[in-house]
Each structure stands twice: as structure tokens, then as C-alpha cells.
């Protein structure tokens, strides 16, 4: 009985759905997609000649195509011109070449079809200690990088891999770009009226500061940074006249800091540097810096204002750092809910780096009241303290990155490789975030010509959220 009713019901349902389909409406209306007005040719390498290094370029690079720039040439987007890279474009840069954006550069990759701006034929070796920095191609500076000139009004890197850049610009390139002859940046942006957007992208390798923002309106969301800087350099180093947000970024093995804000060199007419940083994760930062006392995760100095919350630093050589001389704009700098983990005492002893003025916050993890030795009652800013009671405490419980580490010095954990830094459900990072942090959005919000998504502050510390939001890599 029951069974027959069931069968009848199924039959009726099937009939109904069949009828639905049968009575459905079909349209096939002609739609015209205009061809790209100026598709860039992929037939031959983009080549410079006649003693000039310049290859002017504008228009569109088409999905699925591979373009290449000849050795030593500067691919230049002139002021008022635009280069749009559709999803799935590979741009192979020749040895010693550069991409100079004096106009607009949009690399519009997608999750399914990321773009690549890189060099051809280099094999990554991301095993810890697999290759010494001196011979690692990541630090070799195969090409010069993406150089935003003073007239670059918009640079967007979306779902784009940028790798192996950082060769010294030299006279010819730096003169064309209006940059600096000795620059060794993978990405430079230098227009305080312009917009720099980097979202869901990857930056691999580099020589000096992998990203230098001399000035600009910025939004840097949900990116992954590996092996950045050979023997110095702050991964994202912003200077006077930079305003915006850095959130949900993941850093591993940066030479010095991951994110640094300074108001040094603020131009007349430019605003004061003001950067909001939240939900970023830093692993093994600060070990390739040759000079001592330089930082390993977040750094505010020399007149920079802003805030940093919900960040995670694991085994970084130095903790979150606020500099007292030249002093950051401490009156306009707030921070809290930041997490640190140390394998070793020397790391724990620098959670609040000696000699600087980072103010321990009650929301910090580990708790600033962990023990009588750790930040004692008479602790003054920058003083030496005994961090032994917080060593190996609060294991962040990454999905696949066993802590404490074993087998390699901390400096050798410089790339993601086969590790997975997403959180296990038991992670102490979960639910500790301050969620009412407002991102400082000064760039246009746009699916292509701006920031496509400004992810709000998350409830879990670091860049990966248990609910799947945040960093998508």
C-alpha cells in the first residue's frame, strides 16, 4: 500500500516535471560580442630594436594565449593607454625585460583561469632546504618586474601569478618608468593619485622589496607571498602617501617584514600613510635579512598611521613591531587580537621586539598575563623579558604544517609547497577575531577595473577562515 502510493507520487512528479520541460520556453537571441579592438599579437615575441629597449603595447591580450617579451626589452603601456589581460593569459618575460605601466594595466585572471606574468622554463624547488638561496632561481631576478610609473592611474592584478622578478632596473628602464636606477622590486607603484589593486594573486621570489608602494591608494586582498627578498627587503613596503587596506594575505619566508608601513618621503600634496591590516598570516618571516633588527611580520614606522588586528605570526624572527624612532604616528595607530607562536625561546623573546615600542594588548595571544616572567609587572616598552613560558604554546593547528617544526631551521620554511595552512576545527585561532574592523577602501569597487571584493574582517584569526571565506588559495 505504502509502496504503491509512493510509486504513484513519483509517477505524478515525473509527469509534472516532464510537462514543465515540455512547456518550457526556448530563446536563441543573437548576441554580438565585439572582438578585442586591439588584440596584442602573440605570433612572435614582442621585440625592441634599433638601440631602443622600448616595446609599446596597448589593447587586449586574449584568453588562453601566451605572449612573450624579448630579452632586455621594456614592454611599455604609455600614459593614457590600457593593457587588459583577459583571464588565462600567460606573459613570458624575457631575461632582463620589464613591464612598465605609465597608463592602465589590468590583469584580469580568474580562479579557473589565472594569469601568469613570469619567465618560461624555470622549475620551482619548494622543499624546505631543497636549494640554497644563493642558487634558488626564486631570488635570481630573472626580469625586472612590473613598474608603475608616476602617471599609472590604475594597476590591477587579479588571480595573477607574478614570479622571478627583481632584477636591477638600470638607467634605461628607470628613466622610462620614472623610477629608480637601483630599484630591485618585483612590483612598484608610485602615484599617490592612482589605484593599486592586488587580489587573489601570487607573488613568488624577488630580490629587494617584492612590492614597493612609493605612494598610492591600495587594496591588497587574499594573496599569497612566497620566497620574497633574497637578503633584505620588506615584502609589501609602503612609503609616504599610501592609503588603503591589506587583508587576508599569506606570507611565508619573507626576507624581512611581510607588511610594512612608513610615511617616509610623503610628497607635498600626498596624504599621510594610513594602512589598515587585518587577518594576515605570516610564517617564518625575517630570516634572510642580513642586517639585524629589521622585523619579520608587521611593522609601522616613521609617521605611519593605521591599525592592525586579527593577524597571525608563526615563528617569525621578530614580532609585530611599532618603531619609536623615527616614530610611527602612535596617536593614530591601534592594534589588538594578534596571535603569535614560537618554536624557540629566541622567537618568543622577540614577540614584543626589544628596543621598540609595541604596546602589549590584553587581546593578544598568548595572553600578556601568561606568567610572572612573561611581560612582568614592571615591563617597559621595548625591554627584555623572558619568553620561556610561551614557547610552543597555542599551537595554531594548521591543516598540514606540523608544529613545532622539525628537521629544518626556521629560515628554510620559505614556500607553501605541499603544506596547508588552513585551520583545523580545533585551532585556537577560531573565533578570536575582532569583526568590527572597517577596511579602509579608497580604490574603486569594480569587478574588472577595481577591487572586486573587499572581504570584511573575519572571526577567525589569520587569512583562512573556517567557513571558507578569506584567502582562497
Amino acid at each position: 500500500m505504502n509502496k504503491s502510493i509512493y510509486i504513484v507520487l513519483v509517477a505524478i512528479a515525473a509527469t509534472f516535471s516532464g510537462c514543465k520541460k515540455w512547456e518550457g520556453e526556448h530563446t536563441d537571441i543573437y548576441s554580438y560580442t565585439p572582438p578585442a579592438a586591439n588584440p596584442v599579437s602573440d605570433k612572435a615575441p614582442l621585440t625592441c630594436s634599433g638601440g631602443s629597449t622600448v616595446v609599446p603595447v596597448k589593447g587586449t591580450m586574449l584568453s588562453g594565449k601566451t605572449y612573450s617579451v624579448a630579452d632586455g626589452c621594456d614592454l611599455v603601456i604609455n600614459a593614457n593607454d590600457t593593457l587588459l589581460m583577459q583571464p588565462g593569459v600567460t606573459l613570458n618575460m624575457g631575461a632582463g625585460s620589464s613591464l612598465i605601466a605609465l597608463g592602465t594595466l589590468v590583469s584580469n585572471g580568474s580562479k579557473d583561469q589565472p594569469n601568469f606574468i613570469t619567465v618560461a622554463g624555470v622549475i620551482e624547488n619548494d622543499m624546505p632546504g631543497g636549494v640554497a638561496p644563493a642558487t634558488d632561481p626564486a631570488f635570481a631576478g630573472k626580469w625586472k618586474g612590473i613598474i608603475g610609473g608616476p602617471t599609472c592611474n590604475l594597476m590591477v592584478l587579479r588571480w595573477t601569478h607574478v614570479a622571478y622578478a627583481g632584477l636591477t632596473e638600470g638607467k634605461a628602464t628607470s628613466t622610462i618608468a620614472g623610477s629608480g636606477i637601483g630599484n630591485q622590486y618585483s612590483i612598484l607603484f608610485a602615484n599617490y593619485k592612482g589605484n593599486f589593486v592586488m587580489e587573489d594573486s601570487w607573488l613568488y621570489g624577488g630580490v629587494d622589496d617584492p612590492i614597493r608602494i612609493s605612494a598610492g591608494k591600495i587594496a591588497i586582498f587574499r594573496n599569497t607571498f612566497e620566497k620574497n627578498g633574497v637578503s633584505g627587503g620588506d615584502c609589501i613596503n609602503v612609503k609616504g602617501g599610501t592609503v588603503g587596506t591589506m587583508a587576508y594575505n599569506f606570507f611565508i619566508g619573507t626576507a624581512t617584514n611581510g607588511q610594512k608601513a612608513s610615511n617616509k618621503g610623503q610628497a607635498t600634496g600626498a596624504p599621510q600613510t594610513n594602512i589598515v591590516m587585518y587577518n594576515n598570516t605570516f610564517v617564518s618571516g625575517g630570516y634572510r635579512q642580513v642586517q639585524s633588527g629589521r622585523g619579520g611580520c608587521i611593522n609601522y614606522e616613521e609617521g605611519a598611521a593605521g591599525m592592525y588586528y586579527n593577524n597571525v605570526a608563526v615563528n617569525c624572527k621578530y614580532g609585530f613591531r611599532v618603531v619609536g624612532s623615527p616614530v610611527a604616528d602612535v596617536a593614530h595607530l591601534s592594534y589588538g587580537n594578534n596571535f603569535q607562536y614560537a618554536d624557540s625561546l629566541s622567537v618568543a623573546n622577540q614577540f614584543y621586539p626589544t628596543g621598540y615600542i609595541t604596546q602589549p594588548q590584553v587581546t593578544d595571544i598568548p595572553s600578556i598575563k601568561t606568567s610572572a616572567k612573561y611581560l612582568p609587572a614592571n615591563y617597559t616598552l621595548g625591554a627584555i623579558y623572558d619568553g620561556s613560558d610561551v614557547v610552543q604554546k597555542n599551537n595554531p593547528m594548521f591543516l598540514n604544517f606540523p608544529l613545532p617544526t622539525s628537521g629544518h631551521p626556521l629560515a628554510q620554511y620559505s614556500a607553501v609547497g605541499t603544506y596547508n595552512f588552513r585551520l583545523q576545527a580545533s585551532s585556537p585561532l577560531i573565533g578570536k577575531g575582532k569583526t568590527n574592523i572597517q577596511p579602509l577602501i579608497v580604490v574603486p569597487l569594480d569587478k574588472i577595473y577595481g577591487l572586486s571584493e573587499a572581504t570584511a574582517a573575519g572571526s577567525d584569526l589569520g587569512c583562512y577562515q573556517l567557513n571558507g571565506t578569506g584567502n582562497q588559495h
Binding site: T168, G178, I181, G265, A267, Q272, G293, G303, S325, T354
Partner: protein, 942 residues
């Protein structure tokens, strides 16, 4: 005791008695003064001969120029005066009557001829008009002169240091305290030019036109002239003044003089040794040897300049000079050869705070922020060799030729040891100190060569022509400057004791610089001297053409000693190499952009008129046209805007000089002249060099500077070498070149760039000079007050209550760089021919002056008032031999630089590095100590 006193007393009395006795019995006296015919300067030390048949008597000329023959028999005498470098006067017959005192003034003609001003002296200067005329008096424009005799007794061995004795002149010192550049009336070196015998010489300086004045040994000079107002016949590119080095010229008879001396600096001891090194064998860079495409490796370099470092606890300085001259073929051919060698060891101990590229807006707007605290010792060995030679040939009484050759070679070995508290504040803490140690060895070789063929022709009774054909060459080489640096990371315990030290970040730099500047020039002048309305009128018409070639090249190789290799004190163990192989290729060298060549063709023409409007009022006026045509090229790539260029300009420069002779010994002068100053080559070429505090880059759009100059001066020549000069000047400077900060592709690389300031600069002042002799003692004092002002845009970094930190431009009015409000010299001279002793105490005062302009408001660097006391003497030992000594900087005066910011207001972190402070309202940022330099030796004169 009493006995001892009595005996000399008796002798003294007897002596006085005898003199009195002689005087009463033989009262006939011939006395007078001996002067230079052109300068009117008293010729102390000249000998005068009184001849009557077979009777000959000699006497020498005193400090004030006077000579006296006492107790002569009445009768006819023939008087002759002789002096080195002068033509012996033709015998002058005088008759001495009984009981008479006859006054005979003798004028001697200098054997050299000054070429800068077309002078028609004729053979008429034999007249002894009896009044002493300073060169300042006879000169056609306003100038000051130091004679060879004055220079010889000065405590100085270089022209640069001698210049500071001239009224209105201050010197800018090198890092070892040696005077180098002259600032004339508050106008720094760019505004001044250097002539040798009236001929402009090129500069070995890699960027500028001005000549380092320390390369010239002062003893080669016959006369040093500082000309402060230009006549049309002079080149128009000086606004502050012209330094004319008149070199010794052929004498009228055989002369020989030699000197040798030795000494030391009290700076050096076993605890502060002199650091000496031997030059690198690599005179040229790997790229120069093997081509720009060659990839150099570490094996291409030689570190001898560092590895040969050795300590000398008290190095011995020495100098030697030799002059030989004679005249041949019935005095038609005169030859002089003079050589001077100096090997001087000097140095300094220096402390310096360097400012960050940007100050701090907290606590006060533009609070100074320092990035480095340098502690440096300099050890400088300077070898100078100067040789010059002049040959003159008198073809006949209407035609003369002369050939002049000058060769100067200076090798300077400078060893600089530095420790730097790097990243001051930012990176060092109470418990960890990061110090960078630098050790740099620099050899700088400079040469100047000048060869001038000069002709003078009398074309007719009142038409003369003279010409110069000139080749000059100045070079500067800095072969393989080698520098090694490393970071010493020290961990300290709570009581400040170093517990561990890790030395890493080793860097090695090899650097080459070459600069060559070569001139071919021709000068021609016609002088026409008609009589118009029964007055002597002098027309001069002439011009010059100069073709200049200049090349400069630079290359720097930076090697690192392995990022992970620690330095354990053994330099040779470090695995030095390039970061990437490509860095070793010459064509990739970032210095390549600085290489440049300049060709400049200048020509100028003038018309000058000189006449007396009324008998006492002399007018010199006219106009000069200067045409400059310059092209430059760099090795920058094709895509570099401004990589080459051509710049030409024409200036019309009128001038007028009035001289009113109030009385025989008083003049009143007034003058106006227009002049220019050409930018330095390195300022024009888009070139980038490291500066003291900021890197500098060139600006091809720079315009040349022009100026209107006004002068008045009162002159009194009471007699002898005594004089009183009172003057005043006013200058309006258009398109002054000032340095402004510009951003150069990043916040950390702000550079300063020369730009023409939109506003004019003004400079005015007063000059006073008094010289007075009382017998064997003389006093000379000069004082200059200068006031210059310029208004430029400066950066102000401040904290706005609503906008946060902001930067804006504000105007700041300040003096010109280098200018001191108050400058003075005082010297006391003792000169006794009787006991054969000359002594001089010389004091130089330079008031506070602007040493370096900052791009930031109120952060200019001021050099504190500087006093220097020097002493020198010369004592005759035998007839032709004397002993002399020179002592420099008796009081160990320091060079101190301050910021006008109260040091107490700096943030606490910065306070730790300040060191000892002595002025509450200022911050001492640099001090250099040189200690005292001693030199003593012997002079032989034939």
C-alpha cells in the same frame, strides 16, 4: 750678577756714543725707498748700491721699503737697486752736498709682464715720484695682492691657505683641514675663477669649473692677485672675484735659491697613528682594460690598497724647492726654472651625524632625524710637485716672445676609517648595537699643465699688439678607490658590556674615476694710444677663442662577501663575488650614466677705453661680449631624455671703472660691471653623484648665472707698505643656482638637483684693510662684512590636527652657501734685517657661515665661527742661508657644524647618539679636529 749687567751696558753706551760721534762728523746721507714699479709694493730685502768711482757701498731695504746710506762723503754717486725677479735699475746719478740728506726713491721693474690687463707701461717708470703706490692703487680695478715676499713669510705652503690672508677671502677646507677653495666676499667657489699669469686654466674637478687651490705650492708665485672688479679686457665669468697666480719670471742675472724643510703633525702618535697604504696596481678598471662587455669576476680585482695598510706613528713631512734663473745673449734671453716638492702628512678626527632623508614631524615640525653617526679618522698624505719654466726672448726693442710652461702634479693618498652606528635609532637598541665599519683607501691624482706662448709687438708709435697661444690640460684620476665594510652586530648585557659580536654583511667596492679637461685657446689684443685733446687715451680691442674638451668616466664594482659567510677578521677568507654575474659587466654598470663628454667653444670680444676725463679722474669702460657654445653627450641609452644636448648663450657685459685721485696718495674708486658664472659641467649633464648628505643630479635646463656688481672704495697710501682701504660692494645675482630636493623614483632616494631660483640673490658688504708699520714691527688687519640673501622654497613636514602628517612648501630666506657675515685677518710682523730675523703671527677669523643647504626648512647646516692662529719665522744663519719655520693651527681649532635646532627637543632615542653638546639652541652634528702642523727648514739664496 751685577757685573754681567754692567758690561753689556758699557758696550751699549760706547756704541751709542760712537754712532752719535759718527753722525756728527759725517752727516751726509742718502735715503729713500725702493718699490715695485707696477705694484708700488716696497721691495724689502732688495739691495741698493751707492757707487763713487771705485768706492762701492751696499745696503739692504727695510720692511717699510726704506734704505739709508749714512756717513757718505759728499760728491756724485750712482745708485742701483737689485732684487731677485726684478730688473736691476739703471744707474741713477745724484749729487750729495755737504751735510745734506738726499731722498732718492727707486722703482724696480718686475721682470714678468702681467697679461690679464693690457698695460702700456712703456719705459717711463724710472721716474721716482717718491710716493709709494700699492698695486691696489695703480691697478685699473679693485684688487688685493700678496707679493712673493709676503707669501714666503706666511705660515702657508699652498696657494689655498695663502688666500685666506687676503681681505674678503675665506677658504673651504678638505676633510684633512687643508684649505681647498676660496670664497671671495661670501661668494662660493662657483662664482670665482682662477688664472695663471692671466690665462684661465681648466679644472681637474670632475663636475665643476673651479680649480682646487691647494694643488699650487705657494712658493712658485711671484704674486697672488685677487681681482674683485672686472674690466672689459678680462674674462667675464667671475662674480665673486678672480684669483690670478702670477708665477716667477726670468731674472736679469743669475739667481739660485733652494729650500728644504721637514715637519710633522701633532695629530699622529702611536695611539692615533697615520694609516698609510700603497696604491692599487690596477690603474684602470676591468671594463677599461677589456671592454664594456667583459664580465669581471673577483679575480680581476686587487685589494692592495687595503691589504697594504700600515700604521706610521709619526710620519715626517718634507718640502723642497729650487729656483734657477739667468739671462743670456746680452740679456736677450731669460730663463727661469722653478720646482717645488711637498710631501705633507695631515689628517683629522671627525664625528658626524648624517640626517635622514626626511626629518620627523614629531615632536616639532621638521625635527632633525639622524640615520647615521659616523666616527672617522682621516690620514692624508699629499705629494705635490710643481715645475714651471719661463723663457723670454727680446727679439728687438719692438718685439718680444715668451714661452711659459707650468706642470702641477698632486697625489693624495687618503685613508679613511669609519665606524657608523647604522640605522640610528631604527636598528640599534640599548642591548644590541649595530655598527658598520668602513675602511676606504683613496688615491687621487691631479695634474694641471699649461703652456703659453706669448708675444708682444710694437706696431707703431701708438699701436701695440700682444697675443697668447695656449694649451692647457687638467686631469684627475682616482684609480681603484677600494672600500671594505661590514656590520658588527654586538649584543650587550644590561651593564653595557659586549657579550657577543657577529660580523656579517661584508661588502667590497672598487671604484675608478677619470676626468680630463683640455683647452686650446688664443688671445689677441690691440692697444691704440693716441693723444686726443692733449690727453692720453687708450683703446683696447681684443678677444679670445677657447676650445674645450672634457671627458669624465666612472665605474663602480660592488662585491659582497657571501651573504651567509661571517667575517672573522680575516679579509682574505671572504668569498667575494658579484650578486649576479651580470653585475660584473661594464655595460651594466649603473655609473655608466655619469660618463660624459663636453665640448665647449667660447669666444669673446671686447672694446675698452681708458682715459682721464679730468686730470685726476681716470675712466676705464667698455663692453665685452661672451659667447658660449657647449655640447654634451652621455653614455645613457637612446631612450633616456636629455642624454645629449647643446646649449649656447651670448652675454653682453658692460663695465665702467672710475678712479678719482683725491691727492697723490689717496684714491676714490667706483665701478660697475656685469659678469656671469657658467654652471659646472656636472650640474648640466644629467649626472648623478653621491654628495655629502644627499645624492646630487644634474639639470640640463639650468641657465647660467648673471650678475650686476657695484663697488666703491677709498684708498690711502701714507707711504711704505702702509695702507688703508675702505670699500663697499653690492651684487645683484640673477638666476642663482641653488639646490632643491627632488624625488628620484622612491622615497628613500630623494636627491638634490641644481635649479635656477626664480628670485634674485643679493649680496652686499663692507671691506676694511689697515696696514701700518712701526720700524721693525708691522700690523695688518682686514675685516669684511658680508650680507647676502636668497629666498627659496623649502619643505616643511608637520603634524596637522585634522589632516595628520603633511608636507608643504614654505619660503625661507637665508644667506648664500659659504657666506660668513664677518671675516677678518690680523697679523703682527716683526722684520729686522739687523738681527736677520723675520717673524709673523697670523690670525684668521671666519664667522658663522652656511655650510650646507638642506631641502628642509630651518635645517641648514651652519659652520661655527672659526679662528685659526698660525706662526712663522725666518732667521738668517749665514750670508745666504736662513732657517725658517711654519706652525699651523696653534690652538687646534675644530671645524664644527651645527643645526639651528635645540638639541634638547630631539626625541629621546636620538639623544643617545648626540655626543657632547655645547650650545643649547643648536645641535652639534659634526666636529673635525686637525691638531697642529709644524714645518722647519733651511733656505739658500744666491
Amino acid at each position: 750678577m751685577k757685573l754681567h749687567l754692567l758690561i753689556p751696558g758699557k758696550i751699549c753706551l760706547t756704541f751709542i756714543f760712537l754712532i752719535t760721534l759718527l753722525k756728527t762728523t759725517n752727516a751726509q746721507t742718502i735715503k729713500g725707498k725702493v718699490y715695485d714699479s707696477t705694484s708700488g709694493e716696497p721691495l724689502t730685502g732688495a739691495s741698493v748700491q751707492a757707487e763713487q768711482g771705485s768706492f762701492k757701498q751696499y745696503t739692504s731695504v727695510n720692511l717699510d721699503g726704506s734704505y739709508t746710506f749714512r756717513n757718505l762723503k759728499p760728491g756724485k754717486y750712482e745708485l742701483k737697486a737689485r732684487f731677485i725677479g726684478y730688473k736691476t735699475t739703471e744707474g741713477q746719478e745724484v749729487e750729495l752736498k755737504e751735510n745734506a740728506t738726499l731722498v732718492v726713491n727707486l722703482k724696480m721693474q718686475n721682470a714678468s709682464t702681467s697679461l690679464n690687463e693690457v698695460k702700456i707701461k712703456g719705459q717711463t717708470s724710472k721716474e721716482s715720484d717718491g710716493s709709494a703706490r700699492g698695486i691696489e692703487k695703480n691697478a685699473s680695478s679693485i684688487e688685493n695682492v700678496l707679493s712673493a715676499n709676503t707669501i714666503q713669510l706666511l705660515p702657508d705652503v699652498t696657494v689655498a691657505n695663502a688666500l685666506q690672508r687676503v681681505s674678503g677671502v675665506t677658504v673651504q677646507r678638505s676633510s684633512s683641514g687643508e684649505g681647498r677653495y676660496a670664497i671671495i666676499r661670501g661668494m662660493d667657489q662657483r662664482y670665482n675663477s682662477t688664472l695663471v699669469n692671466g690665462i684661465k686654466i681648466p679644472s681637474p674637478d670632475p663636475a665643476f669649473r673651479f680649480v682646487p687651490m691647494d694643488v699650487f705650492p705657494s712658493e712658485m708665485l711671484e704674486r697672488l692677485e685677487v681681482i674683485k672688479a672686472l674690466t672689459p679686457s678680462m674674462e667675464g665669468d667671475a662674480i665673486g672675484g678672480v684669483m690670478n697666480l702670477v708665477m716667477k719670471s726670468a731674472p736679469d742675472r743669475f739667481i739660485l735659491s733652494a729650500n728644504v724643510s721637514g715637519g710633522f703633525s701633532s695629530l699622529f702618535s702611536s695611539s692615533r697613528p697615520f694609516s698609510a697604504f700603497s696604491a692599487s696596481p690596477n690603474k684602470n678598471s676591468p671594463a677599461a682594460m677589456n671592454g664594456n662587455s667583459y664580465a669581471a669576476t673577483y679575480s680581476d680585482f686587487n685589494n692592495k690598497a687595503l691589504t697594504s695598510d700600515r700604521n706610521l706613528s709619526n710620519p715626517f713631512s718634507s718640502t723642497a724647492g729650487l729656483t734657477i734663473g739667468d739671462r743670456f745673449f746680452k740679456n736677450k734671453l731669460g730663463v727661469i726654472v722653478s720646482a717645488s716638492y711637498q710631501n705633507i702628512y695631515r689628517g683629522s678626527n671627525s664625528k658626524e651625524l648624517t640626517p635622514n632623508a626626511q626629518p620627523s614631524a614629531i615632536p616639532l615640525p621638521n625635527s632633525p632625524q639622524f640615520s647615521d653617526a659616523y666616527d672617522r679618522t682621516y690620514s692624508t698624505q699629499t705629494e705635490r710637485l710643481g715645475i714651471h719654466n719661463k723663457i723670454d726672448y727680446v727679439i728687438n726693442d719692438k718685439n718680444r716672445l715668451s714661452l711659459y710652461n707650468l706642470y702641477i702634479n698632486q697625489n693624495e693618498f687618503e685613508s679613511r676609517l669609519t665606524s657608523d652606528t647604522l640605522g640610528l635609532g631604527l636598528n640599534s637598541t640599548g642591548l644590541s648595537k649595530q655598527i658598520t665599519i668602513f675602511n676606504r683607501s683613496t688615491l687621487t691624482k691631479q695634474t694641471i699643465y699649461n703652456s703659453t706662448l706669448h708675444g708682444e709687438h710694437v706696431l707703431s708709435n701708438n699701436l701695440r699688439f700682444n697675443w697668447n697661444s695656449v694649451y692647457s690640460n687638467a686631469t684627475r684620476h682616482m684609480p681603484d678607490r677600494t672600500e671594505f665594510s661590514y656590520d658588527a652586530n654586538k649584543a650587550l648585557n644590561s651593564s653595557g658590556v659586549v657579550t657577543t659580536e657577529i660580523d656579517n654583511n661584508t661588502n667590497l667596492t672598487h671604484h675608478w674615476e677619470n676626468n680630463k679637461d683640455q683647452d686650446f685657446a688664443g688671445y689677441g689684443n690691440f692697444v691704440y694710444t693716441p693723444k686726443i685733446a692733449n690727453r692720453d687715451v687708450e683703446f683696447s680691442l681684443g678677444g679670445l677663442y677657447r676650445h674645450k674638451n672634457r671627458d669624465a668616466d666612472y665605474i663602480t664594482y660592488s662585491l659582497t662577501g657571501g651573504k651567509s659567510t661571517l667575517f672573522n677578521g680575516n679579509f682574505s677568507n671572504l668569498p667575494f663575488g658579484f650578486n649576479s654575474t651580470a653585475d660584473g659587466i661594464g655595460a651594466n654598470n649603473p655609473d655608466l650614466q655619469n660618463n660624459y663628454t663636453v665640448k665647449e667653444n667660447d669666444n669673446s670680444e671686447y672694446l675698452q677705453l681708458k682715459f682721464d676725463v679730468v686730470p685726476k679722474l681716470q675712466v676705464i669702460g667698455g663692453v665685452r661680449v661672451e659667447n658660449t657654445y657647449m655640447t654634451y653627450a652621455t653614455e645613457s641609452p637612446l631612450t633616456v631624455t636629455q642624454r645629449s644636448g647643446t646649449i649656447s648663450y651670448t652675454d653682453v657685459l658692460p663695465s665702467i671703472h672710475l678712479k678719482y685721485m683725491l691727492t697723490d696718495n689717496q684714491n676714490l674708486r667706483a665701478s660697475y660691471f656685469a659678469s656671469i658664472s657658467r654652471p659646472g659641467f656636472g650640474e648640466i649633464v644629467p649626472y648623478k653623484v653621491s654628495g655629502e648628505y644627499y645624492d646630487q643630479e644634474g639639470n640640463p635646463l639650468l641657465k647660467h648665472i648673471t650678475a650686476d656688481n657695484y663697488d666703491v672704495r677709498y684708498e690711502l697710501f701714507p707711504g711704505g707698505a702702509d695702507q688703508i682701504l675702505l670699500g663697499s660692494f653690492f651684487k645683484k645675482i640673477h638666476n642663482p643656482i641653488e639646490y632643491f630636493v627632488v624625488r628620484d623614483g622612491g622615497p628613500s632616494s630623494q636627491v638634490i638637483k641644481p635649479q635656477n631660483d626664480e628670485g634674485d640673490a643679493t649680496n652686499y658688504g663692507l671691506e676694511a684693510l689697515v696696514t701700518k708699520f712701526f720700524g721693525v714691527v708691522g700690523f695688518s688687519v682686514n675685516y669684511t662684512y658680508t650680507h647676502s640673501r636668497i629666498t627659496t622654497n623649502k619643505l616643511l613636514y608637520y603634524n596637522d590636527p585634522t589632516l595628520g602628517l603633511q608636507q608643504s612648501f614654505v619660503n625661507e630666506t637665508r644667506p648664500l652657501q659659504g657666506q660668513a657675515n664677518n671675516v677678518g685677518n690680523a697679523s703682527v710682523l716683526f722684520k729686522s734685517a739687523k738681527i736677520g730675523l723675520d717673524m709673523q703671527v697670523a690670525f684668521v677669523f671666519t664667522g658663522e657661515r652656511l655650510a650646507q643647504v638642506s631641502p628642509y626648512y630651518n635645517l641648514d647646516f651652519y659652520q661655527h665661527a672659526f679662528n685659526q692662529l698660525d706662526f712663522s719665522f725666518e732667521k738668517t744663519l749665514a750670508k745666504r742661508v736662513s732657517f725658517y719655520g711654519k706652525i699651523n693651527n696653534l690652538t687646534n681649532t675644530a671645524n664644527k657644524i651645527y643645526l639651528k635646532f635645540p638639541h634638547g627637543s630631539l626625541d629621546a632615542k636620538q639623544q643617545e647618539f648626540l655626543g657632547k653638546q655645547d650650545i643649547a639652541a643648536q645641535t652639534l652634528v659634526q666636529s673635525d679636529y686637525y691638531k697642529t702642523l709644524f714645518l722647519g727648514g733651511f733656505r739658500y739664496k744666491f
